[in-house]
Structure formats: structure tokens, C-alpha cells
């Protein structure tokens, strides 16, 4: 597959790995947060950690929209389906997220709720078109990558007058998430979590461009390297971060030049501004209330806002007391530091947000990482 296979080449990987090993200062530690769940996935799936020198540590950040989705929002979706009897259209990622009362969207389906898994927002709108007598609600999640498609279908619904279609908007913003990490006491004042830089998200950046990250580099003096999705991209980005740290620089660099520009996709950004506005505050699972971190549907498109249409209220649901997700999402603790990791809390029975999605720090560690902590002998 073009533009995929070349970026997974093992030969080139060894070359970059050797270069990283040559350039790291032996007495220094380098801790980089890879923000994007897709990067977590790539690192795990290709075993990138094996190719890094021991001085380099990667911390998983809160870049997983499923992981940071509060239980209360999933409850809302379940209520819509079970009580208001709508057809709830959702991406596959949300189906198994455990919500209150032992339910999930999948379990609600088993109770008779009409839950439709869709690959695209357009499929959700299509469902509404084909069943004019049935209310169809699209449960929209995602960072800036996934937001423009939602904006498009809302506009389309308005243009075509598809009155039985509406959206529950859970779209969240990347810069806000990064800020909340950098503003956390452990990073900012206490310095107990040395964070030397960020591996910036790939596809979010194709939409928002590299410009928004310049603020972090300046304000917090942390280097950011935007990296493509493939394992070679990640390794090259790590090399670039190591160099910045060694040089004492804090700049925004772009490794993913084949898809990211400084301005990003202006057409998509304009569409998003037309349909959405900032919420003053939004709860992020594990991080609490984060100001100006999420989007709501504008008044002009209120007819397609399911929260208004069905007069929905989000109830706050606290996480399990033993759950360390908040600390883990901020990079302050590691999954193995959590009391219930791997025992009560497993991918099959996720208690907290970090275990819910396969990109969450705990799920990734459970699936790919925990075997490293046990000495394994090959016969």
C-alpha cells in the first residue's frame, strides 16, 4: 500500500533507532508524551519501544476521545435509545464503553434499544433519510479530525430539511487537553513529572495545522513535533525531539509534512466554525471540568441539537474511587501504579477510561506492555 508500507520499513527503522541511540546524552532522561491514541496504537503494534534506547521514555496522553468521554454522556445516549426510542447511530468505538447500571450501548441493544453502528456520519444521516418516521440521533465523538464530517452532515440535514435527524455533540479540542496537562501541578509547579516534549497528533493537525501548537512551545517552553501515523514517522519525530532537547530549543516542528501545513485545512475549519461554538466548560473523564475545551451546536442549527430537542441533561457520574485514570491521563502515574489494574480492571471489564478503548494507556499496556515486565524465557 503506497504511502503506508514505505513508512513501516524495518531497515529504515533500525537506521533511525541507531541514530537516536547515538544522539541521546547517556546521562540524561528524555520523557515525551505522545498525545494521540493513534500513536499509542502504532507504538504498541510495531513494538517501537524495543527500538528506543533506555534513556527515552514515552508517556501516553489523553488523546483518546473515547477514553475522555464521561460516563454521564454515554448514559445520555443510552437513555435516548431506551426511553425516547430513537435510533442511536454511533461509531464502533463507543459500543462497549461501560456506563451506569451495568449498561453499555451494546448491552442496551440487547435490551431492545435501536443502536446502529456507522462507519461515517454520512451513514447516520442516510439512516434518517431512509426512515422519515423514526428519530435518528448521531452520537458524535472525536477530536478535531472527526468534527468537520459532523459539521457537514448537520449542514446537509438543514439544507434537505431532514427533521428526524439530530446530533449529540461530544467533540473536544486538542489544545485544551494539552493545556490541562501542562497546567497540572505535577508538571507546572511541582516538576514531579518531567515532560520534555510532545509528539503532536497526526490527523488532528491536518485539520488545525501546526500553528496552534506554537503557543505551547512558547508559553510552556516545550518542544512539539507533529508526527505522522506510521511507526517510522514516530521514530523520526522522537529523533527530532531529542535534538531539540539537546539543543535547548522549544519549537514546533512538523515531521508529517506530506499532510500537515501551518494553516491546516481552512475549508474544514470554516465549516466547523459555522456549525459549532465553544462550550464554556466540558467534563473530561479523568481530568474533571476543562474550560473552553469542547464544542456545542450553534443556535442557528438548534433544530439538529439532540440535547435541546429531547431536553436532555447530563448527569455527572463519578469514577470508581480506586481508579487512577486521572493521574494516568496526565502522565503522572503509570498503569501498573493503579491498584485495580489487571485485576478488577481489564479490557474485558474496564472500570476506568484508560482501559475502555484499545488506545487508552491501560489497555495498551495490558495488551502490549505487561509482558515486558515479566521475565520470559524462550525455550
Amino acid at each position: 500500500m503506497k504511502y503506508i508500507d514505505e513508512f513501516r520499513d524495518g531497515e529504515l527503522a533500525r537506521g533511525i533507532a541507531a541514530q537516536i541511540a547515538r544522539e541521546v546524552r547517556p546521562d540524561r532522561r528524555y520523557q515525551f508524551m505522545e498525545f494521540c491514541g493513534g500513536h499509542t496504537h502504532a507504538i504498541s503494534r510495531y513494538g517501537v519501544t524495543d527500538l528506543l534506547p533506555p534513556q527515552v521514555k514515552l508517556i501516553h496522553g489523553p488523546g483518546c476521545p473515547v477514553c475522555v468521554l464521561p460516563i454521564g454522556r454515554v448514559d445520555l445516549a443510552i437513555r435516548l435509545a431506551l426511553e425516547h426510542k430513537v435510533t442511536l447511530a454511533t461509531y464502533g468505538d463507543c459500543l462497549r464503553v461501560p456506563a451506569s447500571d451495568g449498561l453499555s450501548l451494546l448491552k442496551a441493544k440487547a435490551r431492545g434499544a435501536k443502536i446502529a453502528m456507522v462507519y461515517s456520519a454520512a451513514d447516520a444521516l442516510d439512516l434518517a433519510r431512509r426512515q422519515p418516521e423514526q428519530q435518528v440521533v448521531f452520537f458524535a465523538i472525536g477530536f478535531e479530525t472527526t468534527t468537520p464530517p459532523t459539521a457537514l452532515v448537520i449542514k446537509q440535514a438543514a439544507a434537505e430539511g431532514i427533521a428526524n435527524f439530530s446530533v449529540v455533540c461530544n467533540h473536544v479540542l486538542t489544545p485544551s487537553a494539552i493545556t490541562s496537562i501542562l497546567e497540572s501541578p505535577e508538571v507546572r509547579s511541582l516538576g514531579t513529572v518531567p515532560l520534555d516534549g510532545f509528539i503532536g497528533p497526526a490527523h488532528v493537525s491536518t485539520v488545525i495545522g501546526s500553528r496552534p501548537y506554537e503557543h505551547f512551545a512558547q508559553e510552556y517552553a516545550k518542544p512539539v513535533v507533529i508526527a505522522g501515523f506510521e511507526p517510522l514517522d514516530v521514530m523520526q519525530a522522537i529523533l527530532m525531539l531529542v535534538r531539540q532537547v539537546n539543543d535547548g530549543r522549544a519549537e514546533v516542528e512538523n515531521e508529517f509534512t506530506r499532510a500537515v501545513t501551518r494553516d491546516g485545512n481552512l475549508k474544514a475549519q470554516a465549516l466547523v466554525s459555522e456549525v459549532f461554538e465553544l462550550r464554556r466548560s466540558f467534563e473530561w473523564r479523568g481530568l474533571g471540568d476543562v474550560p473552553y475545551s469542547a464544542l456545542a451546536i450553534r443556535e442557528a442549527y438548534a433544530a439538529f441539537d439532540a440535547e435541546k430537542k429531547f431536553a436532555l441533561e447530563t448527569r455527572k457520574v463519578p469514577d470508581n474511587k480506586a481508579c487512577e485514570c486521572g493521574a494516568i491521563l496526565r502522565g503522572v502515574k503509570h498503569p501498573r501504579d493503579c491498584r485495580i489494574f489487571g485485576t478488577v480492571c481489564t479490557p474485558e471489564n474496564p472500570i476506568g477510561s484508560c482501559m475502555v478503548s484499545s488506545e487508552g494507556a491501560c489497555a495498551a499496556h495490558y495488551t502490549y506492555g505487561r509482558f515486558r515486565e515479566i521475565a520470559v524465557q524462550a525455550a
Binding site: 500500500m1 503506508i4 513501516r8 524495518g10 527503522a13 533500525r14 533507532a17 491514541g37 493513534g38 504498541s44 503494534r45 510495531y46 513494538g47 517501537v48 519501544t49 524495543d50 527500538l51 483518546c64 476521545p65 473515547v66 461509531y91 464502533g92 468505538d93 459500543l95 462497549r96 453502528m117 462507519y119 465523538i141 472525536g142 472527526t146 511507526p231 479490557p347 474485558e348 478503548s357 484499545s358 488506545e359 495490558y366 495488551t367 502490549y368 505487561r370 509482558f371 515479566i374 520470559v376 524465557q377 524462550a378 525455550a379
Partner: protein, 359 residues
């Protein structure tokens, strides 16, 4: 003089435009007609011709192996096969994974009211063909009809019986550290074919299900090691399994757990067709977890691996067979994989069902 009264004229089944209705499951004439004109006519053997609710059969010598499988697949017809041949292959393969030769099948059908007879005929003809090609006879069966809305068109359950050499003990608990892990060919074909018909990826994709009966391949694999296995239980083929639901990863984890061992496999040795890889990329799926219906995993004593692999490659269903890894000593039963990229990862159990993702 009056014309002689024709005995019990019954209009033949309308296989072109007819549909299943509740009388077809009622046990009366309609059901008898369905069985005679559709099932027995297609499967065509001495046992069904007797018209009993059972079959008296003779088994060749050996240990008896039995297996059963239910098929609820949607869609019923897909590139490379249909629920009919799938139901024959599935059970034939389960029996074959004991190293056995399958001989007889039983087939029960749960039909939904309103199901078109021409579709049913297509399915039944496909089953008949698959059974003939596999040299097994469908000797007995059952038919039930459920109300419209209570079934997905048709559900089929097949039960198979076969025989295996008394000396062979081939099963999931027999893998030993040092054994070779062999895989018979490309993975992910069946699952991605089904996925792509559902997720509208089907334009111009020549994805096909790999559904096939594997007992011929198994027999070919046993040939070079039969004598050795009769003399020494440590020789030859220890485990055979077909990686169906949950894919290769699930099968390897199952065996590792059953046998109390670990495994180390090479990603570079596992064959995946470019279209399957691409379809997986589109949906965010991992080919290791995608279902197969015409492949097998064999865990073989190290000294016999070369001979068994050669036998696989000489057989049409094993032309792309490869050595993909080794069984290891591991109290945690991890299945580890050396990635093409250079690092190592664990190939864990699947959590729930693999779903297409946006993240």
C-alpha cells in the same frame, strides 16, 4: 367406465416462486414434500431414500470423532461461498482437526416463514456439492419453521462423525516447547469478505471467502509421519486447529492456554493478501483476529516440521503454507510476535468482537 383415480396428486413444490410457510414445519404432507423434493433430492443417498428420522450407518475402523457447528451467517450468499457449503466445510473441518476422516453429516434447518424456496434450493444444492466433493454423506436431518421475524432466513446446524487412527492423539493440549508452528496459507480472507459486503467496500474488490474442506490436506500432512506417530506419541502432528472466529491470534492463544506453553511467531512469515490488508486498514482491524474458513494451524514436533510443511505445500489447499513460529516455555502463556518493523509485541486474546473503529 370411470377413469382411474390418480393416487394423491400433489402439486410439486414451486421452487421458483414459492416461499416457506408454517405448514412446511408442521410435520404433515407439506413438510414431507419439502424434505423429499428439496433436501433428499439434492443430497441423494440411500439413507435419506429410506425416509426415516434416523440413519443406520457403518463406520470404518478407528476411534470415533464427533463435532457440531451452527451457522447463522449474514449475508447468506457471499463471494466464494454461502451458508450451505460453509456448514458442510465447518463441521468436516472440526472432525478433520482430530486427524480424522469425516464420513457422515447430519443437517438441521431452522427456516424463517417467508424464506424464498429458490434461495433455499441454491443453499441446499451448494451443500450437496460440498458434501459430494468432501466425500461425506448427509444421512439424516431435521426441519423446523419459525415465524417471520424470528430467524435470519435460515440457520443451519451440522453434526459430523468421522474416524481417526487409534494411536493418534491430536488436540489443543499437546503442544510442547520446541514444536514448530505451521500455517496453511493466507489469513483474513473469509472475515474481510463478509465485512466488506456489510460495510459497502465491495466495489471492484476481488475478495473471496476461503471456505474449504480441509480433511484432504490433513490426510496429506499425516502421510509422511503416520508410522512415526504410531510408534511414538512425541512425533509428528501434535495439534491441528482451524482459526475461525477470532482468527489466528485467538486460536494460538487457545492452544497456548490449553497446553500451558508460550509461543513466538514471526509477523513476516504470516501471509496476508494485499486486498485483505487494505480492507483491514480501512476499518482499523488487525488481520490476526479476522476469521478464516479454509485454513489450519498445525503444531508439529520439530524433527518432523520439514516433512509436514512439504506435504502441505504439495497440496492445493496448502500451497502457501509456511513455518510461522515456535512453541516456547512460558508460564504466562503469552503469544509473542516479532514484528516486521523490528520490535516485539504480544498478540493477546481478543476483547469482545473486533469492531471497525475511528480511533
Amino acid at each position: 367406465m370411470n377413469a382411474p383415480i390418480k393416487p394423491g396428486y400433489v402439486r410439486p413444490l414451486d421452487l421458483k416462486h414459492g416461499r416457506i410457510d408454517m405448514t412446511h414445519g408442521g410435520g404433515g404432507r407439506a413438510m414431507k414434500q419439502l424434505i423429499e423434493q428439496l433436501f433428499a433430492a439434492a443430497f441423494d443417498n440411500e439413507w435419506l431414500a429410506q425416509g426415516n428420522d434416523m440413519a443406520r450407518v457403518v463406520l470404518p475402523p478407528g476411534r470415533v470423532v464427533m463435532a457440531t457447528d451452527s451457522h447463522v451467517i449474514t449475508p447468506l450468499f457471499f463471494p466464494g461461498g454461502d451458508i450451505g457449503c460453509l456448514s458442510v466445510h465447518g463441521t468436516v473441518n472440526d472432525v478433520a482437526m482430530a486427524g480424522a476422516v469425516p464420513v457422515y453429516l447430519a443437517a438441521s434447518f431452522i427456516l424463517e416463514e417467508g424464506f424464498p424456496l429458490d434461495s433455499l434450493k441454491r443453499i441446499v444444492d451448494s451443500m450437496a456439492r460440498a458434501a459430494r466433493d468432501a466425500n461425506v454423506a448427509i444421512v439424516t436431518g431435521d426441519t423446523k419453521v419459525v415465524e417471520q421475524g424470528k430467524g435470519d432466513g435460515v440457520f443451519i446446524t451440522t453434526t459430523g462423525v468421522g474416524v481417526v487412527d487409534e494411536a493418534f492423539v491430536i488436540g489443543g493440549e499437546r503442544a510442547r516447547p520446541g514444536d514448530a508452528i505451521l500455517l496453511s496459507g493466507f489469513i483474513g480472507d473469509h472475515g474481510m469478505t463478509i465485512m466488506s459486503t456489510r460495510e459497502s467496500l465491495a466495489f471492484g474488490a476481488d475478495l473471496q471467502s476461503d471456505t474449504a474442506a480441509l480433511h484432504g490436506l490433513v490426510a496429506a500432512m499425516l502421510d509422511p509421519v503416520r508410522e512415526a506417530m504410531r510408534g511414538d506419541a512425541g512425533r509428528g502432528i501434535h495439534v491441528l486447529r482451524d482459526p475461525t472466529r477470532g482468527g489466528l491470534a485467538t486460536t494460538l492463544n487457545e492452544i497456548a492456554g490449553q497446553s500451558g506453553v508460550g509461543m513466538l511467531i514471526e509477523e513476516g512469515a504470516i501471509a496476508v493478501r494485499p486486498q485483505v490488508e487494505a480492507a483491514c486498514e480501512f476499518l482499523g482491524l488487525d488481520p490476526l483476529y479476522v476469521a478464516n474458513e479454509g485454513k489450519l494451524v498445525a503444531i508439529v514436533a520439530a524433527e518432523d516440521a520439514e516433512a509436514v510443511l512439504a506435504a502441505m505445500r504439495a497440496h492445493p489447499l496448502g500451497a502457501d503454507a509456511a513455518l510461522i513460529g515456535t512453541v516456547t516455555e512460558d508460564p504466562h502463556h503469552f503469544v509473542q510476535m516479532a514484528t516486521r518493523f523490528g520490535g516485539r509485541r504480544v498478540v493477546d486474546w481478543l476483547t469482545g468482537e473486533q469492531l471497525p473503529r475511528i480511533c
